[in-house]
Symmetry: C2
Amino acid sequence: MALPRAAKTQRRTRIQEEKEELILEAALEVFATNGFRGSTIDQIADVAGMSKPNLLYYFRTKEAMHRALIERVLDSWLDPLREFDAEGNPVTEIRGYIRRKLEMARDFPRESRLFANEVLQGAPRIEDALMGPLKSLVDEKATVIRAWAKAGKIAKCDPYHLIFAIWATTQHYADFDVQVRAVLGPDRAGEGRFEDAARFLEMLFVNGLGVGVPSTGTSGG
Amino acid sequence: MALPRAAKTQRRTRIQEEKEELILEAALEVFATNGFRGSTIDQIADVAGMSKPNLLYYFRTKEAMHRALIERVLDSWLDPLREFDAEGNPVTEIRGYIRRKLEMARDFPRESRLFANEVLQGAPRIEDALMGPLKSLVDEKATVIRAWAKAGKIAKCDPYHLIFAIWATTQHYADFDVQVRAVLGPDRAGEGRFEDAARFLEMLFVNGLGVGVPSTGTSGG
DNA sequence: TGATAATTTAACCGGTTGGTAAACATTACA
DNA sequence: TGTAATGTTTACCAACCGGTTAAATTATCA
């Protein structure tokens, strides 16, 4: 039997919704800071404020919790890239993408760390997602970027490494938050650091791709 | 008693040198791919090809192994930044720094992942190093960069976020290697990816900082 | 309200984990 | 070669870990 007992009830109850939500929230917290192997069911149960067997009534295994979490998070994690619009102005699109990714790093650092932990440790549980949906989406957007480069709208560059660079620089502020704050020191590490980062990164990528801000109001149609 | 039995011998033997080296090498492998909590002494002993009690003869605890490893790795991890020369040409220095960091990501990915794991999980065991030696070194180099910007040698920018961006983009190729390879696919993921990355990143940062390549042969002294 | 479905808890289990004690084996050196 | 110092193994332990069972409790609704 692969299903938890809660999934075998005749109807789906309010309590099930609430508790599963509560558990996934706790699991996110724990997995994000300890990785899969480093996390224990007891820890998650503790954060969720319930007993271990009670938790296991809703998710049969630790794996099941992790799987549910990854599935839910993967979609929202890919959203910023999906919004990347082939029809839009290259500079506007790239700036927008950087901004959205940076906002995610600020507002959902645990989600970012969940992935980082997983990928860092060899992505044993999300390999399929990486080679499937993720790769497809990136391939699609890479084609767009390459077309922009060919049309002379941005500098000629490898679109994949451009995307990697945007991922790396933005997620850095979630994944390496402790280091960032340690280096900036107590004074400079306030919430303003995300605005400073945004300013710097927009400059870096806009100048770096060899295109100025769109000269006049070519507001996208 | 805080010392392992091997440290209490009258003289330091050849076997001690060899075995400790062997253990740290194995510990690097295991810690880098599993994080601290996710790693077991048995795993490390297994990789090192010795029994657990034998290993514990040289390092009394898992913590001790990790500590020894971090201390050793921290220095070499900071080396590329130390080489950053205030007297040099800004573009040359920044390109050189990118190149050295990228080489480290290629040649010592486990060292990079060891740190990434640690920082990602809140840096409980290296907080002091981050706020001490690391911060000091970065502060020092940030001053240099700021001076360059003030002198108009590079674009005005926040030197800290510039350094973060270089760290993020280069270490990405070690820490997120699985993802990079998954996205590039089997064809494009050969060892050439590091050269592609170098080409892209040099362009990004050199153009991004608003300075062209030094016009003529100012080959560094 | 009572019966039934849904939820929670207490008690437990086998395997793993970090670490120890002490017997045993090997090395170095007089 | 003998012997003391060094190194390795066997056997072990208590705590932890993922997960199960069954009984007790609570919610739902006719």
